[in-house]
Symmetry: C2
Subunit: 480 residues, 2 copies
């Protein structure tokens, strides 16, 4: 079965790129060249700037038409007034797509500038040139060496992020990557004068390298087309959407940001839900749900076991899990009995949450593994939240190195238990509280990412993400 190449596939495989208006000074606009060098982009890169002979070690050309070879793709950082001329040069040069980092159009709220944006889009269409933006960061595709920011993750993955905002795209791709989930493609498309959310949804649905789709959308260009594209996409791959401009204040901000009309949130949400998409409330949830869908996958039900830090922490953990709409059943008698065999009565609980205050050292580690195993095998539990107290609070008498070894073992144990029980074990991993916690937390994070354990920055976020995924699963159009 051969699938015809999607008409936007070429965007991710340019053989040569010109950066027109490449900056010689550090600052916004100088990053594109650096980004391509960072990603070891294998094609030709041509900086264009009449005021420089060389930028970052590459020969610089005074104008696009001075570039000797062919140019597939242009990144424009020129001021607004040179944009029309640049389009004509692109046509003369046989350029197939232009990314306009250039801003100062519809988002300014100025009628003349909005008018110019329309003219640019019309001209590009006449010339047969596809256009990203204006006022956006463009493309990131680790596999083919494209990037919109310096120091982006180099590892390609299976998530595609369609984002009107470049800042949010950078944050999203970096965040999921630290948590072990990587990006196939990300597109920051700004004012969406030509290519928009529907084009990219359509592309992502067909792209063989994309398994999960996430979107950050401020305003939709063509409602009917969007719903149609979303329906098709969400029925083939899990699709998560975060809407920017959910409130009146946010809506005013989308106007200033990408010139987008935020529209009615009620209408938007209802339509997305009907199309089968999962709706995230904020960036944190968008990231958490991506991690859950990617590393946890389908969960059997809402019954959570919390293996935790004991005391008041366990009480608040139970409240957080229940408040998020997940369940925390008492364990079956057999499970409680098995736990009670080695858990001291005083100061501990073998119900749910379970305390893991079983001491330190090899014996403590064995008992913790045993606790985790028994809990994961409990018949009335669908998912285990394991809080290992990693980096939690100051501790004396444990050297950093020893602590690092300990958390590495903890990650391996988690993975082992998960595989044996055939049930997800996820880890609420709080950000480092103080300097002492930095190494244990980041080390566990890296290990977890490496071996595919899902982590979430708090127990509340773990529970909320799992609830979101469960709610979506119930009506999941991809499951039939």
């Amino acid at each position: 079965l051969s699938v015809a190449e999607h008409p936007l596939e070429f965007l991710f495989h340019p053989k040569s790129i010109a950066i027109v208006g490449a900056s010689t000074q550090p600052g916004p606009g100088s990053g594109f060249l650096m980004s391509l060098l960072d990603m070891k982009y294998p094609g030709k890169v041509y900086p264009v700037n009449p005021k420089a002979d060389e930028i970052q070690g590459l020969k610089c050309y005074p104008a696009l038409l001075d570039v000797p070879g062919e140019v597939d793709y242009v990144i424009s950082a020129v001021p607004t007034q040179f944009v029309m001329q640049l389009l004509d040069d692109c046509a003369a040069k046989g350029v197939r797509a232009v990314h306009f980092f250039t801003s100062g159009f519809r988002e300014t709220g100025d009628d003349d500038r909005a008018g110019l944006e329309g003219e640019v889009a019309r001209r590009a269409r006449e010339l047969g040139i596809r256009m990203l933006g204006p006022n956006c960061m463009g493309l990131y595709c680790a596999e083919t060496g494209l990037s919109f920011m310096p120091q982006m993750p180099a590892e390609p993955g299976t998530v595609t992020f369609i984002s009107q905002s470049g800042a949010n795209a950078g944050e999203y791709c970096r965040s999921i990557s630290l948590r072990g989930v990587h990006t196939s493609k990300s597109m920051s498309y700004g004012n969406a004068a030509d290519l928009n959310e529907s084009d990219f949804l359509d592309y992502a649905a067909q792209d063989a390298k994309t398994e999960i789709i996430a979107c950050y959308i401020e305003g939709v260009k063509d409602g009917q087309r969007f719903i149609k594209a979303l329906k098709r996409t969400a029925s083939s791959k899990p699709t998560i959407i975060l809407k920017g401009g959910r409130t009146d204040a946010g809506g005013r901000a989308t106007m200033s940001h990408t010139g987008s009309l935020a529209g009615s949130m009620q209408v938007f949400e209802a339509a997305c839900r009907q199309a089968g998409a999962l709706l995230a409330d904020d960036m944190e949830q968008l990231i958490d749900c991506t991690v859950a869908l990617s590393l946890v996958g389908r969960v059997q039900g809402p019954r959570v076991a919390v293996v935790g830090m004991g005391g008041g922490h366990s009480v608040l953990a139970a409240d957080a899990v229940a408040s998020a709409g997940m369940e925390l059943p008492h364990f079956p008698e057999a499970t409680q009995r098995a736990l009670a065999e080695f858990t001291p009565v005083a100061g501990n609980s073998v119900r749910n949450p379970v305390d893991t205050n079983v001491g330190f050292g090899p014996e403590g580690e064995r008992l913790q593994r045993e606790t985790l195993r028994i809990v994961a095998e409990a018949s009335n539990i669908d998912i285990v939240f394991f809080q290992g107290s990693i980096g939690g609070g100051p501790r004396r008498g444990v050297e950093q190195d020893e602590m690092v070894q300990r958390v590495k073992k903890l990650a391996a144990t988690t993975r082992e238990v998960m595989e044996k029980a055939g049930k997800p074990v996820v880890v609420p991993l709080y950000p480092p509280f103080d300097r002492y916690a930095v190494e244990p937390v980041f080390t566990f994070q890296e290990e977890a990412a490496r071996i595919g354990i899902a982590t979430f920055p708090s127990i509340a976020r773990t529970a909320r993400a799992m609830r979101k995924v469960l709610d979506w699963q119930e009506k999941d159009p991809t499951s039939s």
Copy 2:
């Protein structure tokens, strides 16, 4: 005007402490001695354990009655079965108060053990001994050298935290301390067989060293007395309450933790609200509200200016602020005009949120300060949320040292603007995202704590905390 000493004042000034059942091995129970040494407790400390001659460099006694001098206060880490005998020894020794770390009572759910707890409390009362716990961590008072955990902050402050949970008490006191707010006293009182929340509320209301009171309560011993005590306390000092066991699952956990009946959340909340207390939803909010009340104080109204990181971040910031019930008005014309004078049109906004993408170096810093100043002086703004992008994402070409200097300057600028405008400027400071961000974030945190700038770990948490404080302010019983 002289105020009679509160009958519980003596608890915080013991001249000598015996730790009975002091452990010779590291682990739970060995921490109390270490805690007192950490805090440089100036009185006499006597470890008691028949199996040791010396613990942590201090002479160890076989039994309490073998201690040569007077003993004011006893910390009990002995097993449950020795507790009645210990009480008799305490009486013989003239001990005025005992803290029972010893657990294995009502919280086990076992009737005999609950019965024993009752007997212990009766016996203590007969002997005229006040009792903390059982099943708790006891007292922390930096001023007089008491502590319930090793490595607690040494700096005394003005907040008193009354907590049924020792773990939550430790987390709370450490968290506020890192954010520049310090603790006067904290009591972890566990099963509350004798001293309970009402005793400590009463004490905190009268204590001259306490300005703000926070509580973590799982279950109330005597509802009528609690409401009376809370009313009196909340009408004299800001009082924040977090209830553990807000949900059914949480309620089951409070039973296992401190043997507390969580009771109806609706009834509890209504009573607290009527008494004039501020109710926090979780530990994060308890901490955030404490920081807000302590460092920000009274806010004039809900009108927020966000000076931020631009782009999609600003859109989501606006959504987060508005979702929390705060307002984000457009600036007056004059403010917009003043900002527009030096803010580039393209890629920026001078409405609200304001982007601070004004470049780096001394000129960038001047413009950022100028932006902040103009915004803080806007006539329709009550509070400024300033996101300086501290530690946000990888950056190249800036050495760690330079970055650290930059964030120190940023903290100073924030303080300067706040003072000049006579209006609060608070900082949403996200936890370090990766290793690169650790130094800038922790350095800013330390500087902010040192000079009294309130920080919150996200813009959503900033907005939610300020909303809570405003709601409480409207009915604040301490303001009349």
